[in-house]
Amino acid sequence: MKKVLMWEFVGFVSLLLVLGAFSMPLFDDQFMGKQENEIIIRLNAEEAGGFMPGEITVKKGETVKLVLVGQDVTHGFKIEGLMDDVGTINPGEKKIVEFTPQESGVFVMMCTVYCSPNHHKMTGTVIVED
């Protein structure tokens, strides 16, 4: 009888562990192997959320590494006044780009390759603080 209960217990604990996999999305940073100075930006069509996150805040004079991850279709990327067009990023691809903002202010990041009917609205903001 005790042995049966023990196996039930083992089974139950395994079940809980398996259900724990629901928490998988919470470990995004770890599973991306995100470094200290990296910011991950995922590229979606504007209708599907656009740049995620849509707004980032950085410090003037500090080098920022952006990890651009393509999600749904091919996008392009540039930051008006901070970064030239870096080329295309296909779904599943990652592009790591760096920039060091010299001035504070608000800059606009935009998609540079037609990706959906709302392509021209696909923008985000880069806030550079002192």
């Binding site: 079940l15 999305p25 995004d28 599973f31 779904p91």
Partner: protein, 489 residues
Amino acid sequence: MSKPEKKDIDLLQVKGVGKPLKRILQWRGFHFTFILVNLFVFVIVLTAGFFGNPMGNMNFSIAVVWILWFAAVEFMILFGGRTWCTLCPLPAFGEWTARRKLVGVHKQKRWLSKDKKWPKKLDNMWVSALGFLGISLILPWLVTRPVVTGTLFLLLIVFGFLFALIYSGRFFCHSICPASSYIGYHSNASLFGVRARDKSVCEKHIAKECIRGGPKGYGCPWKLYPGGHEDNTYCGQCYECLKSCPMDNMTIKLRRPSTIVRELTNVAVKAKGKYDEAWMGFTRFTLAIFYELVFFGPYWFLKDWGNMGVNFGANLPTIGLLTPTLGGFQNWLMWVLIVAGVALLAYPAAFYGFSWLAKKAAKDKTKPTKQVFLSFSYALVPYGLFLWLAFAITILMVNWAYPLTAFSDPMGWGWDLLGMKFAWSPIVPDLIPYLQAPLFLIGLTFAIVVTYNIALKLFGSHKKAVRATTVMTVLHVATALIFVWIIMG
């Protein structure tokens, strides 16, 4: 003059393999372990489906389920019958709750589980088969939008749970689950079969633990009589009978082609009023051909109609993107008409017409046309299966990279958990038709042979059977040529 029938392979008595396999199947932890592994995959499907990348081929829920899993199930049917049902996590929560045990044997109590008898009206595969057809109506969305797949499987697991609280045993699996009908239907063309070794042992054995349950196992949750059944339609391969039989009389048979034909013929000839199974056959057969045309053919409008003209992927937060225009919705209605029309009306009508002609050619007056029609429909058990295998091969060889990559990046967010990322690169795609050809030709041959055996039993004479078979062969060849034209023309 009868020659001794060559015996099927008794898998559990095969040297070196049989004994360890039997110990595994009789170990109560086996079922639980495999279901747990699948449950893990299932959790990933739901999580990725609802919250992952809205682009289907980047998402585990689409890439693994509709490229890898469904194709694997088709092959499992051929070699292992209802092996998927053995491992399926959908009824698991319900079964554990109703049994009030994860692993051990326990007399089913009334608390929480009502243990009701199955309603007679649902003791067939109508709900399941129509569910399968219903899914086909939204197939372009189901196999490309993560949230649709996530929703479907969430609903299935909820129903799997609820039905087990109301009805005893595997009612959900037997009568409701949309996969169950086709897996069970085509399992009659499988090499695999759970059978009693020696029926005379069962006849003398009164206690019948295989039905009632005993100290070592539950009674068959599919409400079969394991000692007697000679077909695979509703045996879910849970192996409770293997565990509960005290006479060690249950085993797995690897059936020889002649046995497969013989047992399938018996199912076909004995089928009275089983139009649910006939329509399952018609649906599966026509859809295999139709999907090959739609998904891999050049007629874009068909894809677009089924897709309602929506160009966005969707997960749960972006589910609003699945709003079609009025025109897109109207086009989808055309798709519904075509799919339902061909599967439910056009092909069955043609089949009926040919059955009538076959009966005329056989000059038979003893069997009603309905019976001939119904029995001959079982030729689609192997024919439809092999056509689906041909379709599955296309999907696997072209898009294999997506599911394998999805194991490393289930959410489609850019992870690399297993260091396993593959670039899309079809495997010898120009040779795919040459791999599909042997499959559908085997299916066609099988269909003709089975039709002949059925006709022989129905009409009684060899000459009549040959004439009837020749008529049906015209139909089967015509559909094969349609498939040839789609893949090579």
